[in-house]
Every structure is written in C-alpha cells, then in structure tokens.
C-alpha cells in the first residue's frame, strides 16, 4: 500500500486531461443554470457569469498552472471543444432570423433602421466613454465589438484584432445589464407592442434577454432572436469599416 499516488499528483494528472476542462466547464454552467432557474430566472444569476467566476477562481487559485497564463492555456486546451461550437451556433441563428422574417412583412424597413441606429449609438457611446475616461487601449478596442451577440462578436474581434476575451466578457456583462434594465427602460417610454419590446431587447440584451423575452411572450422572443441575429450580421459586415474609420 505504499505505492499510493499522492493526491497532488492525481490533480496534476487530471488537470492535464481535456476531459477535466470539459467537465469543469459544463458542470459549473449546470450549477449556474440550476441557480438561475431556482431563482425564478433572476438575470443577476447569469449561468455563464457564475460558470466563468467559478472556473476562474478554481484554475487561478488551485495550482492549475505555474502562472495565470499557464493555467488558462491548460484549461483552454480542453475547453476548446466547447469554444469551437461558437461558429456552429452562429450558423444556427439563421433559424430564428428566418422565423422572424416570416412575421415581419411590412416591418422590415423600420426594424433595419432601428437596428442600425440603435447599435451605432451603443458602439459610439461605449467607445467614446471608454476613451474619454482614459481606459486601456485593449478595453477600448473590445467596446467596438461588445454590442454584438458573443459568437459573432468574437469572430469580428479576431478579424479587427481586438481581444476576443474582453469582447466575450463585456458581452456577458452587457447581456446581464440589458436583461435587468430592459423592462424598466421600456416601461418608462410606455412601449407596449411585444414586437417592439422584443426587438429592443434583442439589440440591447443578447441571449439572456431573449430567454427572458420568450418566457414572457412568444412574439417578443421571436423578434428578439431575429434582432440579435440580424444585428450580428450587419455588424459583421459593417464593423470592420467603422473600426478602421474611427480607429485607424
């Protein structure tokens, strides 16, 4: 019995395996999702945010690697299988867009105008405030992409060479803020039609807002998904030009 492996070595063995990073990602997300559902879908308990915090604490505090850089690299080696599906999820957004188109008919022109103006306002305000308050260059860069749904935003981020990581983090925070604030903002302006509420939530609150929109009203959910996808497509096409125009 004296050839027992010390517990620390089991840890080293486990942490080198892709399975560990995968299980860690899915399990923490499941914990977050359970809490979210149990709390009656309170947007503060965002499953992704909970998962990110738990994983970040675990890999940086429990000797996953020699430094944070090393720890993250090791984690990502395993978790890249989840990361890879981002592109696939982007293509899958075609379905909600198509379903939204079927319901839009005469509303397509106003929706396009509102989407473009709304997301330009969102990008411009974020970038200008970050610049004015002298934020770091990498932070300002990611403010350009954060208004787009994360899978598409990260594709854009890689292309215009801003940090995909900060983009993803800002997008998650934007989603939480949007889902919390949207009902109040829309009530202040007395906006009642479900399709308008849905579209605004899709532009401002991304995925998390959409799941909430769906739980309140089917039509709001469909328009929110459609707005999120359409906003992503428009941004993917136009943002590189906006970025070089304002930045380069």
């Amino acid at each position: 019995m004296n050839n027992r492996i010390p517990i620390s070595e089991i840890w080293v063995y486990l942490s080198g395996d892709p399975l560990f990073a995968l299980v860690l990602t899915l399990a923490t997300y499941q914990i977050g999702y359970t809490l979210y559902v149990k709390s009656n879908r309170n947007p503060i308990l965002n499953p992704a945010a909970i998962s990110i915090v738990l994983i970040a604490v675990m890999i940086s505090q429990f000797g996953f690697g020699d430094s944070n850089q090393d720890a993250y690299q090791k984690y990502f080696e395993g978790a890249q299988f989840v990361h890879f599906l981002l592109g696939t999820a982007t293509v899958a957004l075609a379905v909600p867009i198509y379903r939204g188109f079927a319901q839009m008919k005469d509303k397509i022109f106003p929706i396009l105008v509102a989407l473009i103006v709304g997301s330009v306002a969102s990008i411009a305000s974020a970038v200008l405030i970050a610049k004015y308050m002298r934020a770091d260059e990498s932070i300002i860069g990611s403010m350009y992409t954060k208004s787009v749904t994360a899978p598409i935003a990260m594709g854009i981020a890689e292309r215009i060479q801003v940090s995909p990581t900060l983009t993803a983090v800002f997008t998650v925070i934007t989603g939480i803020l949007g889902a919390i604030l949207a009902p109040y903002i829309l009530d202040i302006f007395k906006i009642r039609p479900w399709w308008i509420r849905g579209t605004a939530i899709g532009v401002g609150a991304h995925g998390l807002g959409i799941t909430r929109a769906f739980s309140v009203n089917e039509q709001a959910g469909i328009f929110a998904s459609m707005a999120m996808g359409l906003n992503g497509v428009l941004s993917a096409i136009l943002l590189p030009y906006v970025y070089t125009f304002l930045h380069g």
Partner: protein, 162 residues
Amino acid sequence: MIDGLVQIFLWQGIGELISRFLLPTIPGPVIGLILLVAFLSIKGEVNPSLGMVADAFRQHLALLFVPASVGVILFLPELKAHALAVSVALIVSVILAISITALILKLFSIKEPAYAHTKAYKQEMKELDEDRRLEIEKRKQARRTKAIQKKHAKKVTGAQSE
C-alpha cells in the same frame, strides 16, 4: 437531430470556404448564416430536426463563450485599473441601445393621421373594427361547418367499411 446538425456544419463549412477565398472581412460562420437564411426562404420551411438543434444552441448560447471569457484572469490588472470607465461605458451604452431602438420603432409604428382625434375618424375606425370582427366570425363559422362535414363524411365511410 443529427441531420439538423449535419446541415448546420455543412453551411458553416461552405461559409468558411467563401470567407477564406472570396470575402475575408466577414467571418465564415456569418456567411454560413446568411446562406442558410436564403436557403430556408427558398425552401419555405424549417425542418423539425434543424429547428430543434437551433433552439438548443440558442437556449445555451452563453455556455459556448465560457472558455473564452475565463481568459479574463489575464486581464484582471487592466480591468481593475479601469473599472469605473468600463462600468460607465457598458451601462450607458446598454441603456442607449435599448431605448433608441425602441423609440425609433415606436415612431414608425404610429401612423395615425393628423385628424385622428376627430369624431369622423373614430367612427371610421369603429366601422373597420366591426368589419374585421364580422370577417373573423364568418371565417370561424366556415371552419365549424367544414369540421362538421368532415365528421359526417368519416361516419359515412366508417359505416361503409363495416
């Protein structure tokens, strides 16, 4: 479920190829998305398998960007130093995005003419509503009679087969 997934992967692959060789500024998956929307519009329907996969992805979209977001541990010093700037920028831009989008749509959706407050206009609207109500009632009635006829027909065929 698998054929829906295969379909999505195929469009993603085509998108990646086009992005690589023809349109390098647009990410491959976005091109795949556009092509799939075009394909669905031509086809006119979403097959259930594709719909199921798409709904699953949409519901748990956030899970997929967890791995990238954990990289935040590499940016902690910068974020701490600029915490105020980041929070103000994010909060203001979210509020602006939602309110501006909603207000523009509200402006477009109010198409009432300038004489909307007059009695004649209100009367006109009332008549329109009445017309619509009658129309709906008529359609309902038609559907009901159709259903009854169907039932009847079934009974007859049922009796014959016996």
